[in-house]
């Protein structure tokens, strides 16, 4: 399999993985919502889920986009003499940090548009755990191109333990 084909497969895997994380975020958010949506006539769990679902879709898409972008950079964007002026890990960290910030910002911006969605701080925390840690971080450990495979934090420990070759 060529390097490009393999990277294409990795990217597909990232999208599928983010989709699964999206479903988990939907279920986890729904479960958490039991404790904060209350008993208002217009705030049933089902109505809340109807508004929450697009938010999860947006966050999963952003997360997938950033992760795929990182992988694309490592495969086709970076060169040894990087014009970026910073190390690759810094770029990786900045992208992760941006995603972490978006995990908090996007839900609250979304609530400003859809005021009927009752928001709790637990929702950004769920997004942070799922889309940043389980999504971006884990995905980049396994899907970063071989040239920069140890750039994501703790990647060297995990990928070496798996056999070290890849």
């Amino acid at each position: 399999m060529s390097r490009n084909a393999r990277m294409g497969l990795y990217m597909l895997g990232i999208v599928v993985w983010m989709g699964i994380l999206g479903l988990i975020a939907y279920e986890a958010g729904s479960l958490a919502a039991h404790s904060f949506i209350g008993t208002g006539v217009n705030a049933s769990l089902q109505k809340w889920q109807g508004l929450y679902k697009p938010l999860v879709f947006i966050m999963a898409s952003i997360s997938a986009l950033i992760t795929v972008f990182w992988c694309a950079l490592t495969e086709w964007g970076f060169s040894v003499q990087s014009p970026w002026g910073v190390g690759k890990r810094t770029v990786w960290s900045l992208m992760g940090a941006a995603l972490a910030v978006l995990s908090f910002v996007v839900p609250y911006v979304y609530v400003m548009q859809k005021s009927a969605l009752i928001m709790s701080p637990i929702i950004p925390v769920i997004f942070l755990l799922l889309f940043v840690l389980a999504g971006y971080w884990i995905s980049t450990i396994f899907a970063t191109s071989a040239a920069y495979k140890y750039t994501p934090l703790f990647s060297s420990q995990i990928r070496r333990r798996k056999g070290g070759k890849n």
Binding site: I20, E27, S44, L45, Q46
Partner: protein
């Protein structure tokens, strides 16, 4: 490597399938209110059919003798109000009930229409359709024996089926004879002239679905708003809903809750019922609603210090579709009532622990009701003033401006309602899906 990737993709697909199937629609069936609690209101009400039964006995003739008063124009006015509600039919009754064709009911403005000798209110109730709004125009002269027969029929046909009864009393000029008064069936003459203090009451006896009765009363009051202060009118209402407003969902405001959230996992069309879910089955769960006691004009008055707390829990047997009673003993849900403020507002709090109070694994229906204690429900004060109690003991005490045994008649109506129906100040109906 390729084999590993392939297996991983298959695993991911299976996982996704499992998660998606877990998000499936849980709707099983339409949830209806248990029969023991009340009648379901699942469909939008269509226009009612109004049946008007006119007492055509000779005792009624005196209301038409003088040119003044509301009675002479009542056929037209009543026809107008009833027609504005829905299809209207007129009947005349004495011993038998006879339908009237076209606009022949207008003859009730004339003394010639009153030719019947015997009043049989019981026959009217026999022939009335409980789904219709039935209005009986009468002077309420019935013997005790006749009346106990009437209340028995009302119990079976109306109160036991969660339907209601209302009475409108109207004082009208009267000149004529009144027959069959008291146990001795005495005959009296009465001439009120134009002295309002001597005007004689007649009554509209309204029976049928509560909402139709309320609608009729509102239209009646609006129609005769111009006569307020000129014509003396009084009301006595015998409906299950004693509080008039904020007595059940969706009017009840939930002001506080613990361990509960609004849920719509089941299809419930009856707006008086709300579905909730619980966060933890072992935690104390509570719901506080703000209620308002503002009895409608003519309603029997409840003593807020003497309230009975009724609590019923049912679990849905999905095979038969029937509700089965759940007896949780001491762990059954509890309802507490807070103090009533000057405007009639008070809080009612329902508390329970789900895994002790309801049937886990089933859809549960919790019905909490605040009802007046037996004999604590008071009739409107006008009833005493319009009542003539001692006519059998002293014929000289006859007063044509009053109605013999009115108090007894309305008290028996109230007691029948209390025993057969479920009058309540508040009905809290919750569905909890614990499947």
């Amino acid at each position: 490597m390729r084999k590993k990737m392939h297996s991983l993709l298959v695993l991911l697909m299976v996982l996704m399938g499992l998660i998606i199937s877990g998000c499936g629609d849980e709707k099983i069936s339409v949830i209806e209110i248990p029969k023991e609690v009340g009648q379901s209101e699942t469909v939008e009400q269509s226009a009612p059919i109004v049946d008007i039964y006119w007492d055509a006995t000779e005792s009624m003739r005196g209301y038409t003798a003088l040119q003044t008063g509301l009675y002479r124009t009542l056929p037209d006015n009543l026809g107008e109000i009833a027609s504005s509600m829905g299809e209207t039919h007129f009947f005349r009754f004495g011993e038998a009930v006879t339908p009237m064709e076209g606009r022949s009911y207008r003859s009730f403005s004339s003394p010639d229409a009153y030719t019947e000798l015997v009043t049989s209110f019981g026959r009217v109730i026999d022939e009335a359709n409980a789904d219709h709004l039935s209005i009986v125009v009468t002077d309420l002269f019935e013997s005790d024996a006749d009346w106990s027969n009437v209340t028995q029929k009302l119990r079976e046909k109306y109160f036991a089926k969660h339907l209601g009864v209302a009475v409108i009393g109207v004082k009208n000029p009267f000149q004529g004879d009144i027959y069959d008064v008291g146990v001795n069936a005495a005959k009296f003459s009465w001439d009120s002239g134009n002295e309002t203090a001597k005007f004689r009451p007649f009554y509209l006896f309204i029976m049928g679905p509560e909402q139709d009765i309320k609608d009729f009363l509102q239209r009646w009051q609006e129609h005769f708003a111009g006569d307020a202060g000129v014509v003396e009118m009084q009301y006595a209402v015998f409906l299950e809903n004693l509080g008039a407003e904020q007595t059940s969902f969706p009017d009840l405001q939930v002001t506080d809750s613990k361990n509960l959230y609004s849920n719509e996992s089941l299809e419930i069309k009856d707006k008086r019922v709300r579905e909730f879910g619980y966060d933890s089955s072992s935690n104390e769960t509570g719901l506080t609603v703000t209620c308002k006691y503002r009895p409608m004009n003519g309603a029997c008055l409840a003593n807020m210090q003497k309230l009975e707390k009724v609590m019923q829990v049912f679990a849905l047997d999905e095979e038969s579709g029937e509700w089965k009673k759940v007896d949780a003993g001491q762990d059954a849900p509890q309802i507490e009532v807070g103090p009533v403020d000057g405007e009639g507002n008070y809080n009612a709090t329902l508390t329970f622990v789900p895994d002790q109070a309801i049937s886990m694994g089933h859809v549960n229906f919790i019905h909490a009701r605040l009802a007046p204690e037996p004999r604590s429900l008071k009739l409107p004060p006008w009833v005493k003033d319009w009542n003539m109690a001692n006519i059998d003991l002293d014929p000289n005490a006859f007063d044509g401006s009053k109605t013999a045994n009115l108090q007894h008649i309305l008290e028996s109506l109230r007691d029948t309602m209390l025993s057969a129906a479920q009058p309540a100040l508040v009905n809290i109906n919750l569905v909890i899906n614990a499947r």
